[in-house]
Symmetry: C2
Subunit: 666 residues, 2 copies
């Protein structure tokens, strides 16, 4: 289904002509010479296929670093084939869709469907059942795919993958699989007393990097052969120790002519006790690093600093920089990118709101479920997810929020690639965060000068997995017990059958060392003492005045309030509520517009008598947009508001005119 464009084919034809001309000119030279000299021209237009088995949250993070290292050096169009479990599929499909790298195609194959093919093999390796799945690639990948490079997720490329792909041309007619020799003594069987590895040719081969000639493998009946090999060996071995690698090696031992041995630098294996040093000290070139020790970056290797730096380069590399067109071979644009291009062309550069409209069209790369996530839905279907967004400067709020809210949480984090790694280290070192598996962390990668707050909010909202959501901000702490109280209110107010938004009254403290009120009574007395205020009492009372704090003081049952202009309460609503309007970027009107739309959709605003939340103090945020556009900002915000009002009227009819009137009266 992937075709090179005609433009591209023309260039290809041109090079083929050059090839023939060159062959004539250099007939006196060795065959190798013309091959070496012209290979780069020929391969630079080929589509290269890469397959990778990826399961779970951690492998999904690892594979991104692998992909970045490949993209960084590549000059060819690429097609990635991912064998994924549900988790990795969800993460990687959203990632690649939002990454929009030109000339990169991605296909997914369901690992669950392949499990039965290998689940009968007892395996002791830490990679588990997924470690065996490389055996099934002839079956899993499309029948017309003839060649593929197979990579483990713990691989880093230091060169153009086209060089590796080019080695397929060096295969003899018989060879079906290209591999690097093992750089450990494992298969020699002398590591300890009674160490009995699977059979292998000498040191055996490592399967972290494989050139797989699928077409030929199918022709020699690979699917039956590897099974027979495995069954035969398992009779005495009982289980595999190194997963697929044991079976590949046993197969090769029987059929040595089928293997094409790759130079060692195509898979420099950094496990303990490795002989890899003998490989790389002899070459000035390192092409592929394989972190195949369970210790990963902490492996003992005297050159580990060098390898670690290579790895860190890509770990923290800004993935947006890889969104570049290839030269000489423009990609077949996806429908999404065509649409985007059209929208971009329709923008008027002289429009005073150009920057805002431009940002609105920016597609931010998204890495969903960046950390481990396990959500067990509550059975009574009243479950509520706390939804919020943040950037690095609010990270220190996370532990406190987790202590105040035991239910599921969906957080979108606006960060750079480097910050995402800093966050990862923070979360892995925090006892509080480490022990919480019901928090979904979704990274929205930074790009451009504005903070796309509503886009980030929507990512958190769309990835909540409960019927209800509590839409809050990260600098608020919910009262203790809010989660339980809200779930009870959802039942009590029959949220399942009525259209309601439950308002959680918001307060604020200007003090750092607040002893958090344990009850409404305690909160009220702190309010009287001046230790607490209603939220934004001093600077923007209108935002929460409609909550009617006076009434709330004595209320014991939920009460309905009317929408008023500029009302921006924190609410509990059904997860399928309207999204936030993404035209509002930077700051201003981002929550107001959302509550307005809830009202337009006739949600009843019900204030909860025993719920509260408190805003914690923080320094002003460091927001680039503020100083970049402060002058034009207000004018433009008004234009955007007007357009929003017009859209509301279009969507909800003349009733929505009230918002415009309300606005004008202020």
């Amino acid at each position: 289904c992937i075709k090179l464009r005609s433009e591209c084919m023309n260039i290809f034809t041109k090079y083929v002509k050059v090839l023939f001309l060159s062959v004539k000119l250099f007939t006196y030279a060795s065959k190798t010479f013309t091959y070496v000299k012209l290979l780069p021209l020929l391969v630079s237009l080929q589509l290269i296929h890469v397959a990778c088995v990826c399961a779970g949250h951690n492998a999904s993070r690892d594979v991104v670093t692998l992909v970045k290292s490949v993209l960084f050096h590549r000059r060819n169009p690429l097609h990635f084939h991912f064998i994924t479990d549900t988790v990795a599929h969800r993460i990687l499909s959203a990632l690649f869709q939002s990454w929009m790298v030109p000339s990169v195609h991605v296909s997914f194959y369901d690992a669950d469907e392949l499990k039965s093919e290998v689940s009968w093999i007892p395996n002791k390796h830490y990679s588990g059942i997924y470690g065996l799945m490389k055996l099934t690639l002839t079956k899993a990948l499309p029948a017309d795919l003839s060649k593929v490079i197979v990579l483990d997720t713990d691989i880093t490329f230091a060169t153009d993958i086209a060089e590796l792909w080019g080695i397929f041309r060096k295969f003899t007619d018989k060879q079906v699989i290209g591999l690097v020799e093992n750089q450990s003594d494992w298969y020699l069987g002398n590591l300890w007393k009674n160490h009995k590895p699977w059979p292998a040719l000498g040191r055996g081969f490592n399967t972290g990097v494989i050139l797989l000639y699928l077409e030929r493998l199918r022709r020699i009946g690979w699917e039956q052969t590897w099974r027979l090999t495995a069954e035969r060996e398992l009779m005495s071995m009982l289980s595999t120790s190194l997963a697929d690698q044991d079976i590949f090696n046993a197969f090769i031992k029987q059929n040595p002519v089928l293997v094409h041995q790759l130079p060692c630098f195509w898979n420099v294996q950094l496990s303990d006790h490795t002989r890899s040093e003998q490989c790389y000290t002899e070459v000035s070139d390192l092409k592929v690093i394989h972190w195949n020790s369970p210790k990963k970056l902490r492996v003992k290797n005297k050159h580990v600093e060098f390898f670690r730096n290579l790895y860190l380069t890509f770990l923290e590399y800004d993935g947006n920089l890889l969104r570049r067109e290839l030269f000489g071979c423009p990609s077949q644009a996806s429908p999404g990118s065509v649409q985007l291009q059209t929208a971009l062309e329709q923008l008027d550069e002289d429009d005073q709101c150009y920057d805002f409209r431009r940002e609105r069209l920016t597609v931010h790369r998204v890495h969903l479920y960046f950390l481990q996530y396990e959500y067990t839905p509550v059975e009574d279907s009243t479950d509520i997810t706390l939804v919020a967004q943040l950037s690095m400067d609010r990270l220190q709020m996370l532990e406190a929020i987790c202590k105040h809210w035991e239910g599921p949480i969906s957080l979108a984090l606006y960060m750079s690639d480097a910050e995402a790694q800093q966050f990862l280290r923070y979360a892995q070192a925090s006892e509080v965060l480490k022990n919480r598996k019901n928090v979904g962390y979704h990274v929205v990668y930074k790009e451009g000068q504005f903070y796309p707050v509503n886009l980030v909010r929507n990512v958190a909202l769309k990835n909540a997995n409960t019927p209800y959501v509590f839409l809050t901000d990260v600098d608020f702490l919910p009262m203790y017990g809010l989660y339980d109280y809200l779930r009870k209110s959802v039942v009590q107010l029959d949220m399942a059958h009525t259209k309601k938004a439950l308002v959680v009254p918001a307060f604020e403290t200007l003090r750092y060392r607040l002893s958090f009120p344990k009850s409404k009574a305690e909160l009220l007395s702190m309010l009287d003492m001046g230790t607490l205020y209603t939220f934004r009492y001093h600077v923007w009372p209108k935002g929460h005045a409609p909550t009617n704090y006076a009434k709330w003081r004595t209320a014991t049952t939920p009460y309905r309030v009317e929408w008023e202009a500029d009302f921006e309460p924190y609410v509990v609503v059904r997860r399928d509520c309207p999204e936030y309007d993404q035209r509002f970027v930077g700051f201003g009107w981002n929550k107001v517009s959302h509550v307005m739309e809830l009202d337009a959709q006739e949600f009843d605003l019900m204030v909860l008598p025993n719920a509260f939340m408190i805003h914690m103090p923080h320094a002003p945020s460091f927001d680039i947009s503020k100083f970049r556009s402060s002058s034009g900002y207000r004018n433009c915000l008004n234009t955007l508001k007007d357009e929003f009002h017009q859209d509301l009227s279009r969507k909800y009819g003349s009733a929505a005119l009230k918002y415009l009137t309300a606005q004008r009266n202020i």
Copy 2:
């Protein structure tokens, strides 16, 4: 003076043997073939020389990006020769000294000494006199240096510089200079009516990338020849338009056999109206990008996005990752790095304070004067620099501090390479910061898990350029007029001839919206109202209690106070005061130890009756060290304190025992 180590020479000899063997084997192949095949082996051990003219703050930042792009791809030892003005010399020498990249040698040559060589040439190009200095390289560089690659600062490498160096071997015996053809029509002389460029061969050559065969140039009398050429042409042209490039081209026009034309991809010129596209669309390889438009990254070029990404890759690249040993050719270790290695080896990994001691030995890369800086010393030599350190999360304090302190400021910023660029954009967009030229910004690059607060403070302290310093923290705002008042106090208290530390009493507010007190009277009444507190009144009164706030309320003249344990006032002292003790990393005891040492050196602590400063509220800092080592932290801090006390006793004799006693009594 730079010699390859014997180890390295052995490998070299080995390769030479391989070369001869290979030549025998491939005698039937073309000469070109063996050349192509073996060149990489041969050149990988050669020392490559690079020269660059660099003057001023902006060029010093640019050159770092160039150097990063070269280091990223290189596999050879390198020797950089920088022709610098005083500013660039100060910045780059400190940078390379702290960068400690193995197999990188750096030499500096004083541009001021070369000025007279070219100052007689009227030049209209924006590069000014420095644009002409490439003409003087045969004179400036060591007489025994035979070849050098000369680069402009606005160059980005996309390949190994050894490839370019290898082209020297392709020079015929006559050729002395390697250049890429100009990619603009400038020298064709048809850009506008009466456009009369200097003479050139066709389009002429661009001098952003030069292979300069110094040895041969000297032999043909280059120094006289270029002068004669320039003098002759200047008679009719009156001045150069493109600096050195005009003279090089006029010279080449006269002597075309001396030039070796390089393939266009070695200098892809991205100015407006460039023909560069014709170069790079024909090759899949781009080797060197030249941002030779005054518009730099904003140049109009339909592929600018691609080039910009390449540039941004290195702009934000973590320079610490380039501190890697080369394979096959270990570098001659510098005395500094040998010393460091010894110290590292002496550390005990089982020591509970290992991490602290390890951090103490980390050499952080430092970029002094990251932004434009112009300091005019005050004549009466009472001038005082405000000294502070910060990281990204306190950036928003800078404008406020600048508004409260009009004197010179020395700030050390602890940041990553990417953050440094974010800071640059922030500072360039801020009206307040843009207009201040007496603020020295010194970037200390992040590395490791601790915040090396005293190391960062020392960088700010050591780079203050006034006789006195006000040692403060970035989250304090000085009272209005403090700068003038302190300068008067310096005279009044005869700081020039006595050993004094002037204490500026510290207060704090817990409120965001503080109307800053205009006078001591106003401050006192706010104190009475509870709007202000003495600093850390609630959590750590001991830190400032010895200031004696009660006495200060009514004081009208400076009064002396005694040192007490845990006293950590903010003081004005002579710039040559003791440095901060760098063993205290992370948080805790970093200022206390400094004040203790001031006392040990018998500085009198004098409280100023009309000075004050106020701590502004902020969220708790996001400090990795806190959660990484909170358990062992306290124990270890005690160990470090003890060692500090022992060192004090050793340095200041038995009188210093009082600190130990004071400590134990607490």
